[in-house]
């Protein structure tokens, strides 16, 4: 309900930071046009051995995991019935919508034959064996579901516009009757495609380093880590909003999320290590090459938040919570980068490092997301209403 949320409409939209984000976005647009005029080769270092660069691995595979805040909170609030986290839901849904929306946009930019994209939706063209089909359809559906889940914020805004009050309230009443179904879908769909984003590794076979190639367990590890990243991003954004807008901290809420995160990280680490040991990959762990180095950096980044979240005292401290969340986001991101790019090995003769325009386009996407986020929270009731007494 709207009394939980407020638009920060007393704040200026055109801040220097906002304009910087817009400038970066505009710079990226130049290369975006080049990509469509001259082809991907003009702006990227993609090759026969590395067909997927940072546009796929960051914009889609890491980006949608960063966008799992809405997913993680939906499970906590609606499945485990922890209503006290409700105030965090709208900002999390907004970042999820932005993250997934831009991932879909990124997929389109990276699609070599985008004008044929509709073929994914034709039943007779669908290959149900393909992980990419599941990802494509499921992400497309989830963007729509997120838009519906976020629409109460837009309707709350609309209600305050002259002449729209009655219509907005009628729509809102209708929406509230069916929203539970979309919330359920919003839990199911990310479980499906976040696991699939790991399943890609299976068919890549030997190109995936042994420490990341976990075959049938890959989808489970992917969805578990996406889940931890979802919670971490909620804490991260909460801290950013608290500091950036000088608002009251929500540490008491985050501290509880910490307990959930602890369990998830533990599960991820136990399953991963158990698999690697049973599969006889201890040697690869201690090979002291790039792969084993990245593996241990990743593991350290997972263990640090586990330690923080296990301590009652540190969990209640905003600074420690933020550090733990950042560590966890890096861990999950690195897990994906390591598997799909850094240790990815298609065989001799191929190497990949993103081209400058390729990186700028990814940075521009992030800048656009930040700019839209800032605009929306100042225009629409998204952020939790300031609570001065203990909630």
């Amino acid at each position: 309900m709207s009394h939980h949320y407020q638009a920060l409409d007393d704040r200026k939209i055109l801040t220097p930071f906002f304009l910087l984000m817009v400038a970066i976005a505009a710079f990226g647009t130049i290369f975006l046009i080049m990509r469509f005029v001259a082809g991907m080769g003009a702006v990227s270092n993609l090759s026969g051995g590395y067909p997927w660069g940072i546009w796929v691995v960051y914009d889609i595979i890491v980006g949608t995991a960063f966008a799992c805040g809405g997913y993680a909170l939906a499970i906590t609030v609606y499945l485990f019935n922890k209503g006290k986290y409700h105030p965090l839901v709208r900002p999390a849904l907004l970042t999820s919508l932005l993250g997934y929306g831009f991932a879909a946009f990124g997929a389109f930019v990276d699609m070599g034959r985008y004008w044929n994209a509709y073929n994914m939706f034709l039943p007779w063209q669908m290959n149900t064996n393909a992980v990419m089909l599941e990802v494509g359809l499921c992400v497309a559906a989830y963007v729509l579901v997120l838009a519906i889940e976020f629409s109460p914020a837009v309707l709350d805004w609309l209600r305050k516009q002259t002449g729209w009050q009655i219509k907005a309230e009628a729509w809102r009443a209708k929406l509230d009757k069916v929203l539970f179904f979309f919330i359920a879908l919003g839990i199911l769909l990310p479980t499906m495609h976040q696991s699939s984003l790991g399943s890609f590794m299976i068919a890549m076979g030997y190109k995936i380093h042994p420490l990341w190639q976990t075959m049938e367990l890959t989808p489970l590890l992917a969805v578990l880590s996406a889940f931890t990243m979802g919670f971490a991003i909620v804490i991260f954004e909460g801290s950013m909003v608290t500091n950036g807008f000088k608002r009251h901290p929500e540490t008491h809420l985050f501290s509880g999320l910490g307990k959930i995160i602890r369990g998830l990280i533990a599960a991820f680490l136990i399953i991963r290590f158990a698999y690697l040991i049973f599969a006889g990959k201890l040697g690869a762990m201690f090979a002291f090459d790039l792969g084993s180095l990245m593996f241990w950096i990743e593991t350290a980044l997972f263990v640090y938040p586990l330690v923080v979240m296990s301590s009652e005292e540190k969990r209640g401290n905003g600074k420690h919570l933020l550090y733990a969340a950042v560590s966890l986001l890096l861990a999950g991101a690195l897990y994906r980068f390591d598997a799909y790019l850094i240790t990815y090995n298609p065989g001799p003769g191929y190497s990949y490092f993103p081209a400058f325009p390729e990186m700028i386009m990814t940075v521009a996407t992030i800048a656009t997301e930040i700019a839209v986020f800032l605009f929306v929270v100042k225009k629409f009731p998204v952020l939790p209403r300031e609570v001065h007494a203990a909630a």
Binding site: K82, G83, G112, N116, L133, D176, A184, Y206, E216, G349
Partner: protein
Amino acid sequence: MDRRKFFRTSLGATVASAAALAAPAARARPNLEPAPEAVGMLYDATLCVGCKACVAKCKEVNGMPPVPMGQDTYADFALDLSEHTLNVIKIFSEGKGATKDALTDGFAFEKRSCMHCVDPGCVSVCPVKALTRHPRTGIVSYDKDACIGCRTCMTGCPYNVPQYDYNNAFGEIHKCEMCNQKGVERIDKGLMTGCAEACPTGATLFGSRTALLEEAKRRQALRPGEVYAYPMGDVRKPDSYHEKAAPQYQPKVWGEKEAGGTNVLHLSAISYDKLGMPPLGERSFASISEGVQNTLYSYLALPAIALGGLTWLVKRNTAGEQEGESK
């Protein structure tokens, strides 16, 4: 928040994930079997003299003009597969590179083109059936009108065969279609592949997979030094023979079993990894991947059950509230 309810839900989630874990093993499919009348090629690296007649013929048959190296060199020295090259001869060289088919101070040729896998990874991962395995001939073909350009086929090919044309705003995937694509159809017309026809030594031999595998095994059974009449052209009706002393072949025919096998088989005197062949076991990655996908998504049964349960839980937890606000 009711503690008992929390535990019940957690228990349910644990059981569900354990089931999801156990299920793939049960549902995994075996490797696909070769197509009933699979056609293929046998490339014997020990016969290859590196003349690249096959590379030139391939470009001619497939309508791909040569790409000159520069103003001074009006010749196409394709170094690897690309959007301009569906078939290429590569060289392995070590030390002085003096002795053919030897490891120390030796060299060897290797032909790279689509292997036409029996259980093709590219076909398995393509979301829109742009890559297909012909049910009778086993030829792996490409349909550019279906292709969305996601390039998952390139990640799923153990041999890095499919090549996307990045320098074209409307690029497509390029790969060998065994000279049988629309407009070429050499196999349907009873001809052989361009590269096999052009090969002057019989290093590239055309034929049915079965006959080629028999030929490969015959060669492996030869005593090193024994003179053998190597057939040229189509193994089932050779144009002529090329007499040569047999080398000491590697004990395995590449493509008999690797990742489910291939219709294009390779023979060599030095180990295949030196020739750039990937580290593959017998199980195809496609079969494992499809096992997982079909366990989770067969008839969308599991997602439907999960959605039913989730809808019920969310509805109960949000009963009587606005915006799915829980109690």
